[in-house]
Symmetry: C2
Subunit: 183 residues, 2 copies
């Protein structure tokens, strides 16, 4: 199964999870063009459509964003850009004194060689008062999943993979593949 | 001359400036797809290329962003999205205690029916301590142009048009048209 991404962290998380299910993931390491749009689903589907023309065989890609309730879903589809510019400290400034609930959303778009299928996974939680932990990547050190008192940055990969938005989306993809292709 | 935009404020500014130069601007009011990219130039050129296929006659469009030095150029190409989500108050939070220098950049891409030409205009300034004025739009109330002690939100349109990033880019377009097509 080909996974298209320029992000090593994502590939490592995904290949580990798929390995545990007996599926080998081949990493097609590349950047691809993304449109600006209001939803992660829209951006992901557009990317997959464009890539399908050149890749021509089954593949999947994933888009993940963090959505802060009190900021109208910011940074959402632009999470990666925003992280690179204002970082977690910028998010902490913006959210100070406000409702801290947030969620991570992963959308996977799978191209089966003919059609596109989308699967998503969500993880609800709270923005921490400060950065904690140096595991994971991106917003992990400021995100406390519901039901926990540690951030994703303080959580080992195996534990993160049991609850994460990314693993939920991936599980939905795997369930689909098993039901439809008997992989 | 056709101007493509979904933004009424931009059309009003541009049609007023062009009128003063004796050029009538026809507003093609539409939203179009934009890619995610690091530079305004890249996004604008890509949009113009895609639009040229359907419009087929000469037109221009403009992209404007505000770039904050101490935030690595944030929000830059995503200024419109960021404004809609965190607003000027969000920017004021992010910049608190930091270097407040910033600039506005407008990039115009003009399609002459065959080729694409780009023109840009820049306005240097400082982020104000608080929002001031209700003229203009977007980031105008928090932007003090160099050499002034009022924000663009406190400046009448005629005055803003004499110094703005948008008018500089537009002047470059007009100079080009006059030199090459004798409009």
């Amino acid at each position: 199964m080909i996974f298209v991404s320029s992000n090593k962290h994502k590939f490592l998380e995904i290949s580990r999870m798929m390995e545990n299910k007996g599926i080998t993931v081949e990493w097609k390491r590349m950047k691809y063009e993304e449109i600006q749009a209001d939803t992660t689903e829209e951006i992901s589907l557009d990317s997959a459509r464009k890539l399908s023309a050149s890749i021509g065989e089954p593949f999947f890609l994933e888009d993940t964003g963090i959505f802060l309730d009190s900021l109208g879903g910011f940074p959402g589809p632009y999470s990666s850009y925003v992280q690179s510019k204002i970082g977690n400290s910028g998010i902490l400034r913006l959210i100070e004194g406000r409702n801290r609930s947030a969620y991570f959303l992963t959308v996977i778009t799978y191209f089966d060689g003919r059609l596109f299928h989308q699967f998503s996974g969500k993880l609800n939680g709270t923005i921490a008062q400060s950065e904690r932990g140096n595991l994971g990547f991106g917003y992990d050190p400021i995100f406390i999943p519901d039901g926990f008192d540690i951030t994703l940055g303080e959580m080992e990969l195996e534990s993160k993979n049991r609850i994460s938005h990314r693993s939920k989306a991936l599980q939905a993809l795997v369930d689909y593949l098993l039901a439809n292709h008997g992989i």
